[in-house]
Symmetry: C2
Subunit: 364 residues, 2 copies
Amino acid sequence: MEDKTIRLQLSETKKEKPNSDQLIFGRAFTDHMFVMDYSDPLGWHNASIVPYQPLMIDPSSMIFHYGQSVFEGLKAFRTEDGDVQLFRPEKNLERLNRSSDRLCIPPIDEEFGLKAIKQLVAMDKDWVPDADGTSLYIRPFIISTEPYLGVAPSRNYKFIVILSPVGAYYKEGINPVKIAVENKYVRAVKGGTGEAKTGGNYAASLKAQEDVAKGGFAQVLWLDGVEQKYIEEVGSMNVFFKINGEVVTPKLNGSILAGITRDSVIELLKHWNIPVSERRISMDELYQAHQEGLLEEAFGSGTAAVISPIAQLSWEGKDMVINGGKTGEVSQKVYDTITGIQYGKLEDPFNWIEKVEAKSAVKQ
Amino acid sequence: MEDKTIRLQLSETKKEKPNSDQLIFGRAFTDHMFVMDYSDPLGWHNASIVPYQPLMIDPSSMIFHYGQSVFEGLKAFRTEDGDVQLFRPEKNLERLNRSSDRLCIPPIDEEFGLKAIKQLVAMDKDWVPDADGTSLYIRPFIISTEPYLGVAPSRNYKFIVILSPVGAYYKEGINPVKIAVENKYVRAVKGGTGEAKTGGNYAASLKAQEDVAKGGFAQVLWLDGVEQKYIEEVGSMNVFFKINGEVVTPKLNGSILAGITRDSVIELLKHWNIPVSERRISMDELYQAHQEGLLEEAFGSGTAAVISPIAQLSWEGKDMVINGGKTGEVSQKVYDTITGIQYGKLEDPFNWIEKVEAKSAVKQ
C-alpha cells in the first residue's frame, strides 16, 4: 500500500433509518461504504469512502465463477455514554488476512484496514442504534474482479466494507434452540477451506440447514469430514460443552473456523478458573456423558448471537435434552460478561474494546 | 417459467474480433449475453438477450458473501461447411440443475435454457472462429443476488450466458504434462459439494495449484478427502488410466465431478470394445502398476483440452514417467474421435451433436 489516504465522497441524500425495534439482520445498509481496489502492478490502492451504491462488475469477473472471496463480520456498539466502540476488531483483520492466504488473495495492511473501518463507522455513526441489544454490523469483504474465465488466482480485487444496523438477537431473553447432528452433509474437511471465512463454506452449508429446518431444528451440528464422528461447529458458530464441570470445545484443526467469540469465551473461562480444554470430542463421548448425566451445558458462540444455548441435540434418532432445555449458568455468565464489555457496562480487563470516537453527541 | 419469450436488445456497436491465432481462453467476450432473473413469487422470468455489459449488483448481494453459485462450460464448433454446432449441450443443462439442487438454487427449464443458448450463439455466430482447434466457449452461470447478509438460500438469482472465442488448446499437437499428486490440500469430500460445479470448489483448488506450479507441474492430482489415498480428479478434469489393457477411471462417488467428456470417453471405449471400468483406485495400486510396467497411459478429460495426456506423475518423492512421457495410443484415438465429431469431420453415431443453425453464410 503506497497511498494510504482515504478519499471521501459524501452521499448527497441521507436514507431513512429503520426504527431500532424493527431492525432485521443484514437488510438495511447505511449511507456510505468503503472501497479499495487491488491490481497486479499497483497493489491495494484507491481507498475511498463513497455513497452506498451498486457495484458495476463485468459478468466474466472471477467472483461469479470461481468463488475466490473472503469476508469478516464484527459489530460497533453504542454505550450508555453515547460512545461507539468495537470488540477486538484487530482479530477480524488478522483472520481476514489468514483467510485470504488460503484463497490466494493478497493481504491488506491490517492497521490501515482498521483505520478505514473506524473512519467509515465514524462517518455513519448516527446509524449505530442505541436500543438494548442492538448494534451496527460491519461486513468487510474481498471479491475477485478480474474479467477472466481461467481457473487461476485473480489479478484484481475489491476490498469493501458495508454497514448494517441490526436488532437484538434475543428479543425476549437468551433463547435455547434445538440442533440436529448432521450425518449426511459435511461442511469442511482437513486440507479444505474450513478455517477460512470464504463464501464456499457457507454455500456448502445451505442444503443441510434447509433439510433440518423441515424437522423444526434451528441449526445443524457439523461433524468432521473424515470419520463423521468428531464434533466441529454448530451452524455458523463454534460450539462448547460443559461436561462434569469442565468446558470442552473442539480444537482448531484446519477445518474449524477460529472464532473470535470462541477465543473470548476461552479467555474468560480461564480468567474465572473454570476448567476449559480444546480437544477432539466425538459424538459417542458426548452421548455417553449425556447418558451419565454429566453433560451440563452446551452452547454455540459467534458474533451474531454471542452465545446461543443448545436446548436439545438430536443424533441418530436419539434426543439429548441438555440442562432441561434451559440456558446454563456458565452460558449465561459468559453471555452477560461479553455483552457487558461490548456495551461498556462492564470493565474491560482484557483490553478488548477499541473506541471509534469518544462522546459522539449525535444519537438516534 | 410462465413467460418463455426471449426479448432482444441488439448491441448498437460491434466489438472488434480478436484474430483466430491470437485467441486466449476466457479473455474476450462477444457482443451479446443472455440474462434471466429469478425472484420468489415470479420464478424465472425476464429472459433477454442484451448487449454484453457490466452487471449492477448491490454490495450486500449474497454472491459476494456466501458463494451460492453454479456454472457450466461448453463449446460451439464451426464445421468445414460453416455450420455451428454444440456437443451434448443437454448434458450441461442437466448438470447445471443437479449442481443447483446441491446449492439450493431453483432449477431452470432445461429445454428453454438450451433454446436460449442456441439463440445467443446464433446471434453472435460471427464470433465462432474457424481456425483449426478454435471454438466459441459458452459459459452459463447462476448467481445469488438477494441483497441480504443472512446465511440462507437467496430469494433472487440471475441466470446468465456469456460467450468467449477461444484458441486451440494444443497449438503444436497434443502435449503431455507433468502432474503432482496432492497430499496436503483437498478439493472435496463425501457430503461436500465436489460433484457440483460451484465456485467454492475452484476457489479451494487455487492454493494447491499455486504451490505445485512452483515445482514446474501443470496440475495437481486430487486424492479423496477422507483417506487421501484414492484418486479423484486431475486439476479441473476427470482422470483415466490404462492399466494392463484396461482403462480405469474413478467411480463417481459424490465428490467427483460427473464430466461430460468423461462420459463420452467411457461411451467411446465401450463402443470400441476396449475394457473400461469405473471403480475406486488408490495411489498405491497405481504406483504398483507402474512399477510392474502395467501403467500404459494416463490422461485427463475435460471441455477445455478434451484429452490431456499425463507424461509424469510425482507422488511422495517418486516420479512415475508414463508411456515414455508421450501421448498414448488410446489417448490419441479418443482425442481424435471426440474432436472429429465436434468439428463435423467424423460421423456422429451417438447423436452427440446439436446444430445451432445450418449453413451460416457469414464466416470470419
